[in-house]
């Protein structure tokens, strides 16, 4: 475990004592930044998922859509967007690609002519089931014990909600 714990995260000057900078003089290093850790962990996760999702013809965001629709059939695009914290400018093209791949349908909403409901096709449902199974492999790939991973998830989610995410 190569890890140098608790280096400063920013170089905000210490309020009281000016002459003893506990913080690097010319700004933070990449390795100091929590935002970089998250940014880069996200890339690493994508790399972990890709070889497992590629055989299913799925990208990572598409995997998330399948997971979500499996638990919320007939969801609107807006509701999906709220769950994934994505806008329609991201979702519309993504969903179109998935519809073209016969994974889902965007059917009119009888309650509201502006809206569409999302339902998995049979293929989509099968794919969603397989996709759900690979999660275990990912947990494997992430290493560490389960307690740690669950705790980390909760802390990251706490950070998300402090940042005003949905």
């Amino acid at each position: 475990m190569t890890q140098t714990p608790n280096k400063p995260i920013s170089h905000a000057p210490a309020q009281g004592q000016q002459n003893q900078p506990a913080i690097p003089p010319d700004g933070p290093e990449i390795s100091d930044l929590l935002c970089f850790a998250i940014y880069s962990a996200n890339h690493a996760l994508t790399r972990l998922y890709r070889p497992l999702l590629a055989p299913l013809g799925l990208t990572y965001p598409q995997y998330l859509v399948l997971i979500s629709l499996r638990h919320n059939p007939g969801q609107t695009i807006k509701a999906l967007g709220q769950q994934l914290d994505l806008e329609t400018n991201t979702l519309t093209p993504l969903l179109k690609r998935m519809e073209e791949a016969e994974l889902l349908r965007r059917v009119p909403n009888p309650q509201d002519d502006r809206s569409r409901l999302l339902e998995l096709t049979e293929t989509g449902a099968e794919r969603a089931a397989k996709a759900g199974e690979i999660t275990a492999c990912i947990v494997e790939g992430m290493g560490g014990d389960l307690e740690e991973l669950l705790d980390l998830r909760d802390r990251v989610n706490a950070l998300r909600s402090r940042m005003g995410a949905t």
Copy 2:
């Protein structure tokens, strides 16, 4: 703090007792997934950075490049890629845009004709200094106390290294 701690992260069947699934029957929910927490936290962070970086004419990856070059002047593209865990197919266009914006130069490496060294222009150095300062605002925006954030960073980095990231 809306938070339901320690729901299961995957639905790997409990080894011993088949008849009492401690894990949801039809796969994980979005909110169960550590990978989604990280994926989404990354988006939230980008949203936090954007209004601060836009006035400097920077994107988030460009901000990272400036931070890195500030501490490692004359770095090669490869070295930068190792630090940011990015390939040249990402970096080359990004660096070209930054060169066009007069933030840096890609000068020939006298040691190796294949390679190029990266140096900040004067504008780039000024921008890097300003960029370093906004980190404090981000820490502000992330909320929570500093201890928590530093600990979180170290845990995320530990996860990164378990996933085989640089």
